[in-house]
């Protein structure tokens, strides 16, 4: 077996009749940045909770650094999980959180943490519960970066952070990752902001894996066609159609295939327009099935 950081096989998590994660299989390789994407409620957070041993799986196999993660200090000291709702004891100040983190993570870089505190302008002696939402998120980001854990997971870590602070996070992340490569998982719905940093993308939809692919392979992997409804319908017949947007007698359709030379000629003879679909649009269209059928059923 390869030395994958995470190895998940047929993983399932059910709550009574509800299956939050349904027979999921994937692996995370060392030193890559992964995007774990999908709509709210798709099962992303449940998967991350199982990987970080905060939740038992109903069935399936799960290995982190080659071992079962539950109550496994050897594994868990190598994992840093930052989520939006991290809670700390009431009397903790920012500096207490940093000191605690220093004791938890073997690779903790104190100087780097202090530099980040300056960057994000955090008051070290303020109590955590008195921090604004954005400042609270900044603490999480600093812990996530300065821990330099071999597996670092950020689950929507920027609640309340403005665009400037988010840009700073991305900037520091790329910089530090370049110097200290490790496996990073970014779970987010802000796909357009993070997509260029990702090497590999896993899209979860309805508890299942919809896409597990190199990010650059997905760019240019789909296109949209627009024109009169009849012409578009005849062109997309037999193709992998992922979206339909009727507008009067016109139709715009998304096709999840690469455009061939033959396609190009047909588009031209049918008088149809075409444009490449961005990575973000592709994921939106793929995970938007319910809305699409609703829209499509309109006369």
């Amino acid at each position: 077996m390869m030395n994958n950081v995470v190895e998940v096989k047929n993983l399932t998590k059910s709550y009574g009749k509800v299956t939050a994660v349904n027979n999921v299989t994937f692996s995370l390789e060392p030193n890559k940045i992964y995007g774990l994407l999908g709509r709210n409620g798709a099962g992303k957070t449940t998967i991350m909770h199982m990987i970080t041993a905060q939740l038992f799986a109903t069935s399936g196999e799960l290995k982190v650094f080659g071992e079962a993660p539950y109550e496994n200090e050897r594994v868990l000291s190598q994992v840093c999980f930052i989520k939006e709702s991290l809670k700390y004891p009431d009397n903790y100040m920012v500096k207490d959180v940093l000191e605690l983190s220093a004791s938890l993570f073997p690779n903790w870089d104190k100087e780097y943490a202090n530099a980040l505190v300056q960057d994000f302008q955090l008051p070290l002696k303020r109590r955590m519960k008195k921090l604004s939402r954005g400042m609270h998120s900044s603490v999480g980001i600093i812990v996530g970066l300065a821990s330099r854990a071999p597996l670092t997971i950020f689950d929507e870590p920027y609640l309340g952070l403005d665009a400037v602070a988010r840009a700073m996070f991305y900037d520091r992340l790329i910089e530090d990752y370049s110097e200290y490569p490790r496996t990073i998982v970014l779970s987010t719905h802000l796909i357009d902001e993070v997509s260029r940093m990702l090497e590999h993308i896993i899209v979860i939809d309805g508890g299942k894996i919809l896409i597990n692919e190199d990010a650059d392979e997905l760019r240019g992997a789909a296109y949209s066609v627009a024109g009169t409804a009849n012409a578009v319908e005849s062109f997309i017949a037999g193709k992998k159609v992922i979206s339909r947007e009727p507008f009067g007698g016109l139709l715009t359709a998304g096709v999840f295939e690469r455009l061939t030379e033959t396609d190009r000629k047909r588009l031209e003879s049918l008088g149809l327009q075409t444009a490449a679909i961005s990575l973000q649009q592709l994921i939106v269209q793929l995970t938007n099935k319910k809305l699409e059928t609703k829209g499509g059923s309109r006369p």
Binding site: Y170, S178, R196, L198, E199
Partner: protein
Amino acid sequence: MTLIIDDSRPIFVQIAERIEDDIIQGRLPEETQVPSKNEFASFYQINPATAAKGVNLLVDEGILYKKRGIGMFVATGARAVLVEKRKEQFFEQYVVTMLREAEKLGISADQLSDMIRRGDAK
């Protein structure tokens, strides 16, 4: 030089194209050092592995070469090779498309060459 990354085309291809542009326009003269993958990564805020893939594409084509322990350099003769390659692409991308559109509009070859001359004089 544009800083905008297009999310509908592979980023490693865009990085390779930008290095090519810099070589063609003389911003990266032959035998000078190319920025490192980490420099590209932090400049464009992209994944360093993606940047490395773009650079390696040009290494495979002999446009860049590696000096051990130092970094990537522009090969001698790279500019001429790229200009030839771009001329071929220019024909496909612009000339063929232009002729097709001209035909649609009923523009004759003479009228077209007049237009080109007029454009050139500006």
